[in-house]
Amino acid sequence: MRIRSLVPLLVLILAAPAVAQVKLLNVSYDPTRELYQDFNGAFAKYWKGKSGQAVTVQQSHGGSGKQARSVIDGLEADVVTLALAYDVDAIANSGLIPKNWQTRLPNNSSPYTSTILFLVRKGNPKKIKDWDDLVRPGVAVISPNPKTSGGARWNYLAAWGYALKKYGSEATAKEFVSRLYKNVPILDTGARGATVTFAERGIGDVLIAWENEALLAVREMGEKGELQVVAPSVSILAEPPVSVVDKVANKHKTAAVAKAYLEYLYTPEGQEIAAKHYYRPRNEAVAAKYAKQFPQVTLFTIDQVFGGWTKAQKTHFDDGGVFDQIYGAGR
């Protein structure tokens, strides 16, 4: 067989014409829809000016844990922008992302932060002021399912951290959180679903919510003034992480634009967009500009109280963990 005669043909075939337009898929968690709608437009304009390449960013949203599972199972995300590092770690453990992903971007690859606040009805009829008010009998609390929602895990850990700090022992913290979840009549799969349950379906007295989700809901329903934010005395510093999904991006030949997409989150323009959507910016100048819109809350980190996400996940949210014990027992 004359192999040489086939070489030009193979070269011709393999040298397929370059794609004129590049597409990215950003797999994100529930409440970031509006943020990335704005951000994607700004980035497309920036990237067109910088490289001349037109970029279209598609978005996928859902509970953070569920989204991570989808990526592991084959959803071809070029980048992930999830609610917690544990979910990105899970993707890294599947081999799609290097294990050192958190070191590749500033601030542990977390371009913005958030925290957990309360959303109550007009006039705060149940007089919700702090976490203790959420465990009172007769107070219906809305919070999504920590098994599927990253935001819900932050909620849970914020409550636990408060109880641990105030009452001093793991046992009282467990009892506290157990009583809190007895007051939860519905577990939505994601933070956005929980907001719908509370704000649109009129269920419950208090929603434990992402700060950005709570502030957005107040703004959206501002004309009616039906909701108001309550900041607890203590809450948790949530650091939603981002990462390129290297194997997918390399396969799609989008690694460079995907990296630029995430780096743009750290620019003053990207930080400004985050702040407008009530995410706390890392950039000090932007943070100072928007400081008034964020309530003053004493914040603790997951590392300080729980020893990091891996430990927290294993203790509280893995099958048979503390959440299963308290929620199963309470139903």
Binding site: I13, G74, V135, R136, P137, G138, A140, R179, I186, T189
Partner: protein
Amino acid sequence: MRHVRFWLSCVLLTAILPAAARAQENPPPQPAPPEPAEVAQDQSQPPQTVDEKLEELDQKIRVLDRKIEIDKEAAAEKAKTAATSTIDKSGFTFKSADGAYQLKIRGYVQFDSRFFLDDDQKPAIDTFTLRRVRPIFEGTLAKIFDFRIMPDFGGGTTVLQDAYMEARFNPAFRVRAGKFKPPVGLERLQSGTDLLFVERALPTNLVPNRDLGVQISGDFAGGITSYQVGVFNGVVDGGSGDGDTNDEKDVAARLFFQPFVTGTGPLKNFGFGVAGSSGNQSGTATAPGLPAYRSPGQQTVFSYRADGTAPNTTIADGRHVRIVPQAYLYSGPFGLLAEYATSRQDVVRGAVSETLDHRSWQVAASWVIAGGEPTFRSVNPKTVFDLSAHTWGAFELKVRWNRLDLDDSTFPVFANPASAIRSEQALGAGLNWYLNRNVRLLFDYERAKFDGGAAIGDREDEKIFFSRFQIQY
């Protein structure tokens, strides 16, 4: 929903009010307060007024509604990721939600009759036969890897016809490996279910049937140009193989053009090209590596000399080259298919060697007189046979002229002119009735005239009436 909520309110009121009354008489014990005491303080009161009780009921109903809503959303989400199974005219299909994994189970059965007329000198057996009985298992793995397995139980024997896998990297580059049809004969590349006549025409005698090998293929510019190039074990003309008898391999290739395929004009289904194969074949006295050729009625009308001894057996001994220019046109109700095949093979018998060049051609025309339009992939009837609706499916008239010429140098050294024909020419015509996409009837009459092939004069003409009842899914 308001009515439902009203009645649910009534039911819940009926259930709750007496309980509430009992509760006021005998208040339940409070849950054990956690440490410290302030957490345990119950600052709320059970509902006292009717408004408060209605508010509580309203919340319960809202919770129930929302739970139903969430369940529906979860069911819808689950449906997106759930595998599907369908049964339709294309067979049975099992598919993952994202389409990355598929299994299709299809198949077809052809029940034929062959009746030979005026077969006085060379009596042939009039018979019914199960020509092809082929279940087909096709699938896709991880989006781009396809496979196909097709055994054949026709004639009461079991043959593995197709068993291959194919990777679709892009439309211009696919890789196939296994047992399948080498890309040479045009009519041979048509599926057995799509044939215009019951049996393929004479050029198919000169091209390979199925072989083991590796092939790359692809389409450019939306199918305007397509190609296949492969390396195969090599088989005799008309033959299939499941292994090899020597180290030599055949290269087969085909280049085909459909210049108007992306348009909508009358030449959209016009295609032409050329195919061929080249390799070295060598045989032995007991396995000569040479073919026999058949008549339209599937009677063996040509074979080389062979008695199992080297001096009296013609043996393949070197280069075997096939070239097959080919074309088709399907426009409106009319179809036309033509191909020309040459098969040049080095042979030896004892001390005498020769290069023999056999040739064959065919021209087949069809006219769908009602109910559909012809394509290379058969006729899709516009209506299905349904007596109550007075619809009849599609009907197609057909005619075919085909010829096979053996190289003059074949005789008398390499083949016995008293039993092997020098040429044959056949004219056939008939009617196809497509009851629907799955069922069709074929009726053919074909007459073949032979030169040679008899001790005195020519072999008796073959006049044969075919019919086929075909069901496929």
